[in-house]
Structure formats: structure tokens, C-alpha cells
């Protein structure tokens, strides 16, 4: 088990290299650079641009820049500046004086980690996940137990919407209904400290996951209901409620629980549209902004964090399987 985890973590190294290589190439193939300004704004003069490029090492050949990002490079004064291998994600080109780590992980003065950009995104992801699970799992179970009744059909209808309609479309509908018509939420809240302003973004973000969770739970529950051991439990004289809770639930939730990790990773990394729509101070909006501004190191850093999150989530699948299913062992 320990060796399995170590092996899987070692696999992260090539994954990070490949992801950063591809991101680096794509990013530098896009026209423009970090010093470009809106056409309406005052432009940075060419001489300053040259100095900036020199200062940040952007005048060097691309391969050298890549090596510098991953391993590090010598400064003008001969001192060595370590790169990604030391955990340095580099300086931001647009938010002067801040490193990428500081932008993403440092909370405002006097607040805890969950008020950093990363923390905000994690919180939004967790809330969306809670919504998805608390609604999706019971919906799936009830649909399976009451297969082909109106309860099943209503749940299937909502699930189909959740799976087929993109979340930004759902977002627009919900914003029109709850913000424009009913005035129960404000679209761009002044502060994210109140609880109620989180509700709409979390629901919208979690809607698709809720639908997929309900569908997976239903399918897995229907499969378990047909199993021989359920019949055995009934033949023992067990009350139906106990048969469901003791013999069906754990088995049917195994696939659902193993998907929680990847679902959460998908929610945290996939929230940039919702974050942008709601002006949310999270990592996703920072990412979108960084892409528009060609803030190279910010793009690289955020992409890598996303990649690591997804890889860890996938590892969690195997680990939760081992925890939940006594038949499965890793070696």
C-alpha cells in the first residue's frame, strides 16, 4: 500500500513535466506578451519593455526559459535562482512584487488560509460538492427504490437537464429568476463573508455533479438490488428498511464515494466560468485574467496546481476503493 502510493506519487513528476511543457509551448505560441496594454491605454515604451524582458529573462531563447522555469537559472550577479524543483512558481509579470505562490495561497492580512484565492476556490468547490452529494445521493437511491414511478421520472428529468445543459446556461436562468425577478440574491455581492451569497454559485457549479451523482447512485443501486445477497438478507427475515441500509447502501455507494475525489477536483478546477460570472475572488478567475494578460508564470503555476489536484484526486479513487471494499488490495 505504502509502495503503491509512493509509486503513484513518483508518476506525478513526468505528468508535471509534460503538462508544463505543453502549457509553455501553447502559451508562447499565442500572440502578444505580458507588457502589451489595451490599445486605449498608455503603452509601455519599447525601451522599458527591453529592460523588463532582460530583468525577467524573457530575452533568452525559449528552451532556456523553460529550463529556468523548471530547474532554475543564474541571476546577473551570479547567484542561482531555483525554479519549480524548489517549489518556486516564479514572479508574476503583472502583479509586481508578488510571486505566484503569494497570489494564489496568501490570504489577506489577518485572515486564514481559506481567504486566499486558492482557499476561496476550494470552499466554493466543497460547497458545490456538498450540494451535489446531499441532493444527488438520496435522489438516486429513491429513484432506484421507486423505479418507474413519478418520483423516478422527476428525478430523471432533473438529472437529464443537469447533464446536458452547460452550467453557464443554467447560471443565466437562475440569475434571471433569483436575482432579477425575485431579488433574493445579489448578482455581484459586495462581500463574500455572508453565507447567502455563496448559495447560487455553489448550486450552479454543483448542478452537473449532482446530476451525475444521482445517475451513478441510481444505476449502482439498481444493480445491487438484483444481487443474490439481497435475497439472502430477505430470506433471513430482515426488515426491508434494514435490508436497504445494511446490505444495499454500502455496496451501492462504493462507486459513488470513489468518485468524490475526482468530482471535487473537477469542481475546484472547473469553476472559472462561474467565478468570472460572479466576480468571485478565487483561483479560477485569476487564471482567466492571467491568460488574457499573458502573465506567463501565473498561467503555468495555476495549470500545474490544477494538474496536481486532478492527479491526487485520481489517486484517491484507488485508495478509497481499498478502504471500502475488502476484496481489493493494492500491491
Amino acid at each position: 500500500m505504502g509502495r503503491f502510493v509512493v509509486r503513484r506519487l513518483l508518476w506525478l513528476i513526468p505528468v508535471i513535466l509534460v503538462v508544463s511543457g505543453i502549457t509553455f509551448i501553447l502559451m508562447h505560441s499565442a500572440p502578444g506578451g505580458p507588457w502589451d496594454r489595451d490599445l486605449s491605454a498608455r503603452q509601455v515604451d519599447p525601451n522599458t519593455q527591453r529592460l523588463l524582458n532582460e530583468y525577467y529573462g524573457l530575452d533568452k531563447p525559449l528552451w532556456r526559459q523553460f529550463v529556468a522555469y523548471i530547474i532554475g537559472d543564474y541571476n546577473k550577479d551570479g547567484s542561482f535562482k531555483c525554479g519549480l524543483v524548489c517549489g518556486n512558481l516564479g514572479p508574476s509579470y503583472r502583479q509586481r512584487g508578488l510571486t505566484i505562490q503569494q497570489i494564489l495561497f496568501m490570504p489577506p492580512e489577518g485572515k486564514n488560509f481559506f481567504y486566499s484565492r486558492f482557499g476561496y476556490s476550494i470552499r466554493l468547490g466543497v460547497y458545490a460538492m456538498l450540494f451535489a452529494v446531499i441532493l444527488g445521493v438520496p435522489a438516486g437511491i429513491i429513484s432506484a427504490l421507486k423505479q418507474n414511478t413519478w418520483a423516478d421520472y422527476i428525478s430523471l428529468f432533473i438529472v437529464t437537464i443537469g447533464i446536458s445543459v452547460p452550467n453557464f446556461v443554467i447560471a443565466i436562468f437562475l440569475i434571471i429568476i433569483f436575482a432579477s425577478w425575485l431579488h433574493v440574491v445579489s448578482i455581484v455581492p459586495r462581500s463574500w463573508d455572508q453565507v447567502d451569497v455563496w448559495i447560487l454559485p455553489a448550486i450552479i457549479l454543483g448542478f452537473g455533479t449532482m446530476a451525475r451523482t444521482a445517475r451513478l447512485t441510481r444505476a449502482s443501486m439498481l444493480e445491487v438490488m438484483r444481487m443474490d445477497y439481497v435475497r439472502t438478507a430477505r430470506a433471513k427475515g430482515m426488515a426491508e428498511r434494514l435490508v436497504i441500509f445494511r446490505h444495499m447502501l454500502k455496496n451501492s455507494l462504493i462507486p459513488v464515494v470513489t468518485m468524490l475525489g475526482p468530482s471535487l477536483a473537477a469542481l475546484v478546477t472547473g469553476s472559472f466560468i462561474i467565478e468570472t460570472m460572479f466576480g468571485f475572488p478565487g483561483m479560477g478567475r485569476a487564471y482567466v485574467t492571467a491568460i488574457g494578460q499573458r502573465d506567463y508564470s501565473m498561467i503555468m503555476g495555476t495549470t500545474l496546481i490544477y494538474a496536481v489536484l486532478v492527479a491526487l484526486a485520481n489517486l484517491s479513487v484507488d485508495l478509497t476503493y481499498v478502504l471500502l471494499d475488502p476484496r481489493i488490495r493494492l500491491d
Binding site: 444481487m227 443474490d228 445477497y229 435475497r231 439472502t232 438478507a233 430477505r234 430470506a235 433471513k236 427475515g237 430482515m238 426488515a239 434494514l242 445494511r246 446490505h247 454500502k250 455496496n251 462504493i254 471500502l324 471494499d325 475488502p326 476484496r327
Partner: protein, 328 residues
């Protein structure tokens, strides 16, 4: 011996997309205390549906018991409330299923599952139930029974799992044990061990047994009486000796013909019955075995035979007297 179970005119149907499957079509039999009844027939003859109907374990929909009664201790199981039947299942009438691989819950320990019937039906503590479970496991021949309570089903071999299943079904010392093809999924040598085990337990505990199988060979030394099923009917019913020495229905003769015998001298070819059992999509108004029967006469195609007395305590449902070849 007193009669403890009496099933009369049991009929069970399944509503499927293809139509209504008449799985059991008026089955009657009885069981005395401590007696062993064998129910024999090929796959799909309605053996499982018969016993599952009695315990109301038929999945519904699509299944439905449409007629009949099953009297147990003065109560009709088919009309009992859910609560009443629940108290009987597992404590007074318990079942052993065919596939020991899939009949256990893979994520619960063996101890938990074996102790469960006791926890449901009596007011013992969990610890007491576990202690009893360990005793039962030892009784069915599981080595180191106490240590194995915390193991999971996949850590047992098929034969061991079936022993565990038997321990689980007997933990409440039921009056009736229903074994639905308990050896079909096992190796031949293991089959014999399981049969011996059940015989021993029957002598120790004295329960009555309904043993379902498609293998006449297995129950020769086990059953007191045998009911042969075909197409949802009991087509021949006799004490075990009588049935083996004097098979009367062509189907039974066919089943015995495909069984190697040691007591008959000379070399005899094993025969088999051509074809497969029917899936009855309409109420059978002729003998369901007629399409495969070499004795069939016109009448077999027009009228379903009732039971004829053909010997002591011996009935057969056939229009033809197979001894003489003449119509009855």
C-alpha cells in the same frame, strides 16, 4: 410424524414483456417433521419459484402468486402479513442458495452475516450472537472458526462458503431447511462432503429438509420422498426407493436413464432427453412434456393429465401407462 407444511395448488406467474410466464401451475405437496423431500427437475422447471413463492421471496413485480395455499403451523404463509412472514423466514424456515459466491454480501464480515439471523429473531446481544456463530461455524467444519468470524466472504473457498451458508441458515435451529441446489456450483468431491454434512446436521438437529436439485443421483441417499417437476407441475411423486425402482413418468425415466447406475449389471448406454424445458407463455392445456416425449399419444396434446395413483404413495401425471404402453 406430524405434518408441518402443506402446500396446495400453488400457482405463480411472471408478467414479462414477452407475456405472462406460467412458472408454477398448481403444485401440491406436504412435509412431515424431520422428513426430507427432494424436488428434482431440469433448470427452468419451476423448482426455485415454488419454494420462493412459499416464503414470498418472489420479486414483485414481475412475479405474483396467483393461487394456492401453504399452511405452516396453522397459518397460510401466502396470506400472512409481511411482519408475520418475516418472523418465520430465517428462524423457522430458512434457505440455502445455489451460488455461495454471490449469496454473501462482499463487504460484510462472515461473522456479522452468520450472526444476523439470530440478532434479528432473538433478543441476544451481538457478542452472544457472534459466539453462537462461531459455534455454528465449528459445527459445519470450518477450522479455527472463532478467528474466521472477522474474515470476508472472498477469503473462503466455494465449498467452505457453502458450509458457512449452511451454518447461517441453521443458527436459529429452524424447523424446515430449504436447500435450493446447494451443491450445483461446487466440485463433485465437495458436493459429496456437503451432502454428508447436511445428513449429519439433520440427525443432530432434526429439521425437515426440502432439497432441490437437478441431479437425481445426489438425493438418492438423502431424501425420503422425491417430487419430480416439469413445466411448473409435479409430474411424479413417490418415496425415494419406489421412484428409483419403479419410475413411471417418461420424464423421470429419462432423468434416470441419464444417470449411471452401479446396481444394474452389464453395460448400458447413458441416455439423455432431447430438447429443453418449455417457457410456458400460456396456461398449459396439454401435457408440457409431450413435445419431448416418445410415448406421447393424441390425448397428451389435447388434455393435461391429472395425477394417477400408480403405486403405494406414488402418483404420476401421464396419460400413458409406460409399463404396458397403453393409454390410461
Amino acid at each position: 410424524m406430524a405434518e408441518i407444511l402443506n402446500v396446495q395448488g400453488l400457482e405463480t406467474q411472471f408478467r414479462t414483456r414477452e407475456g405472462t410466464v406460467h412458472a408454477v401451475n398448481g403444485v401440491s405437496f406436504s412435509l412431515k417433521e424431520g422428513e426430507t423431500l427432494g424436488i428434482v427437475g431440469e433448470s427452468g422447471c419451476g423448482k426455485s419459484v415454488t419454494v420462493m413463492s412459499m416464503l414470498r421471496l418472489i420479486p414483485s413485480p414481475p412475479g405474483k402468486v396467483v393461487a394456492g395455499s401453504a399452511m405452516y403451523q396453522g397459518k397460510d404463509l401466502l396470506k400472512a402479513t409481511d411482519e408475520e412472514i418475516r418472523h418465520i423466514r430465517g428462524s423457522q424456515i430458512s434457505m440455502v442458495f445455489q451460488d455461495p459466491m454471490t449469496s454473501f454480501n462482499p463487504v460484510l464480515t462472515i461473522g456479522r452475516q452468520v450472526a444476523e439471523p439470530l440478532e434479528i429473531h432473538s433478543a441476544v446481544s451481538r457478542q452472544q450472537a457472534y459466539d453462537r456463530a462461531a459455534e455454528m461455524l465449528a459445527m459445519v467444519g470450518i477450522p479455527n472458526a472463532k478467528d474466521r468470524l472477522n474474515d470476508y466472504p472472498h477469503q473462503f473457498s466455494g465449498g467452505m462458503r457453502q458450509r458457512v451458508m449452511i451454518a447461517m441458515s441453521l443458527i436459529c435451529t429452524p424447523q424446515i431447511l430449504i436447500a435450493d441446489e446447494p451443491t450445483t456450483a461446487l466440485d463433485v468431491t465437495i458436493q459429496a462432503q456437503i451432502v454428508d454434512l447436511v445428513k449429519r446436521l439433520r440427525d443432530e438437529l432434526g429439521m425437515a429438509i426440502i432439497w432441490i436439485t437437478h441431479d437425481l443421483g445426489i438425493i438418492a441417499g438423502l431424501a425420503d420422498r422425491v417430487a419430480v417437476m416439469y413445466g411448473g407441475f409435479i409430474i411424479e411423486h413417490a418415496p425415494v426407493k419406489e421412484l428409483y425402482t419403479n419410475p413411471t413418468h417418461p420424464y423421470t425415466m429419462g432423468l434416470l436413464g441419464s444417470l449411471p447406475r452401479l446396481d444394474v449389471s452389464g453395460r448400458k448406454r447413458l441416455t439423455s432427453i432431447e430438447g429443453i424445458p418449455p417457457v410456458l407463455l400460456e396456461a398449459p392445456h396439454f401435457c408440457p412434456f409431450a413435445p419431448r416425449c416418445k410415448y406421447a399419444v393424441d390425448r397428451c396434446w389435447n388434455e393435461n393429465p391429472g395425477d394417477f395413483n400408480v403405486g403405494p404413495d406414488h402418483t404420476a401425471a401421464c396419460w400413458v401407462d409406460t409399463k404396458t404402453g397403453r393409454e390410461r
